[in-house]
């Protein structure tokens, strides 16, 4: 008897999820990825994360697979091999789209030879975003695919409310001083860390007190355990002595 109508497949898939009493075999289909995702999949089956304790096993042939893991943005050359792997896997099969490229084409979404995501060629059951997804994210994705955990993300739309206004950070510090501190911190520590450092420094400036600036900066830097941060604080404090920044 032939059973391949969509309704049959859906019924079989639900029975696979509820009655699976053995290992879930995973076959990894690389359709034009950068190999970052593959490295993370193999990191997920190392002793630290050990996906095999849940019976998740990577196999070498799509004919053994219950779960197909598609990585990569589906390039023109890898489209047919990906489809062949999909056809070769026995029904019912769960298709997992892995990584930013698999979910939507990722950073390669507008390349000329890229189909842009696994869902352009095969029906996908679970999406695991990430570039690449970390091993814990991979394990979570498998748990969602096998129906053990529920998804956490929900689509949401914020509509601007009446009288909604963005606040200004550290309004008590004069504008030019604020800009100067942020610029100096970012110059010394890089863009992302620089902002955190500037935030901490400006927070310190806003604490009320009647100590002179030089002493305040010195006590603040002395309380810092990281010598690199302490030096950055001292240097920012030094540049604040510039006559143009004096109130």
């Amino acid at each position: 008897m032939k059973m391949d109508t969509p309704a049959d497949i859906k019924r079989m898939k639900s029975s696979l999820l509820s009655n699976i009493r053995r290992s879930a075999y995973v076959y990894r289909v690389d359709c034009g990825g950068c190999n970052g995702c593959e490295i993370e999949i193999f990191a997920a089956i190392t002793p630290i994360f050990d996906a095999e304790r849940f019976g998740i096993k990577v196999v070498a042939s799509p004919r053994h697979a219950d779960i197909l893991l598609f990585t990569g943005a589906v390039t023109r050359a890898m489209r047919m091999p990906a489809l062949r792997a999909y056809e070769a896997a026995p029904d019912p099969k769960i298709v997992v789209s892995y990584g930013a490229c698999g979910c939507s084409g990722g950073i390669f979404h507008d390349l000329y030879c890229v189909w842009g995501g696994t869902d352009q060629v095969v029906p996908v059951d679970v999406y695991i975003p990430g570039c690449p997804p970390t091993p814990p994210a991979t394990i979570y994705g498998f748990a969602v695919a096998l129906g053990l955990l529920d998804q956490k993300l929900k689509a949401k739309t914020h509509i601007e409310g009446e009288g909604e206004q963005a606040g200004i950070a550290h309004p008590a510090v004069p504008y030019n001083v604020r800009i100067h501190i942020e610029r100096e911190a970012r110059r010394m520590a890089g863009y992302r860390q620089g902002r955190d450092i500037a935030d901490r420094f400006l927070g310190m400036l806003q604490i009320p007190g009647d100590l002179p600036l030089q002493q305040r900066v010195e006590t603040f830097a002395a309380a810092e355990t990281d010598p690199r941060l302490a030096e950055i604080y001292l240097q920012i404090g030094e540049t604040l002595q510039h006559p143009e920044l004096r109130p």
């Binding site: 979910c103 979570y140 748990a143 902002r195």
Partner: protein
């Protein structure tokens, strides 16, 4: 044999307890970008910085709205958006559990209103952005201004009007002003 067992007991268990217990995450882990829409001014800096075009901004002039959106499916978690955001509205959180069964759940949107130009009445910029810039400039000028209150309020009013004017109207206004100045110079001769 005994040596090996000793080594095994000394090492202990290496496997993390992850799905059953929360995972320990390092300090600067870059996970899901969280957008605080109340703090966002819809300036579009993040959409320009985003290398993967996961962040997008669409302007609907007819409805007078601008829609900001992020697709976690396309995001590569580089934190460029966090770096460039002027109001710290977008921040990367340590949240990594992003797997979904429905692709639509990977998109988060925020709709902002556009402000109309005071001269021509056409929508030209997000209302929140103009309000933020006005507040920023006024906070600066309060600390530096030391004139009579009447002059200050007149100055503020003029500045507010200029900020709420669209670029093309500004150009036209400039031309009118230049024409008036040259006219006066002509008369003086």
């Amino acid at each position: 044999m005994f040596k090996l067992l000793k080594e095994v007991f000394r090492t202990g268990e290496a496997t993390v307890k992850y799905p059953f217990a929360p995972l320990e995450i390092s300090k600067d882990f870059r996970g899901k970008p969280e957008h605080t829409a109340e703090q966002c001014i819809a300036c579009g800096a993040c959409t320009i910085a985003c290398p993967a075009n996961a962040l997008a901004m669409e302007t609907d002039v007819a409805a007078g709205t601008r829609t900001w959106s992020i697709s976690y499916a396309r995001c590569i978690f580089c934190a460029r958006c966090e770096e460039v955001c002027p109001t710290q509205a977008i921040k990367l959180t340590p949240d990594f559990e992003l797997a979904v069964t429905n692709k639509a759940d990977l998109t988060v949107k925020a709709v902002f209103k556009l402000a109309d130009c005071v001269c021509c009445g056409e929508p030209f910029a997000p209302a929140k952005e103009i309000a933020y810039v006005t507040a920023l400039i006024e906070a600066t000028s309060v600390t530096s201004a030391d004139g009579t209150t009447a002059a200050v309020s007149e100055d503020t009013e003029r500045r507010r009007r200029m900020l709420a004017t669209c670029p093309s109207c500004k150009r036209v206004n400039d031309l009118v002003q230049i024409a008036r100045i040259t006219d006066q110079q002509e008369k003086r001769r």
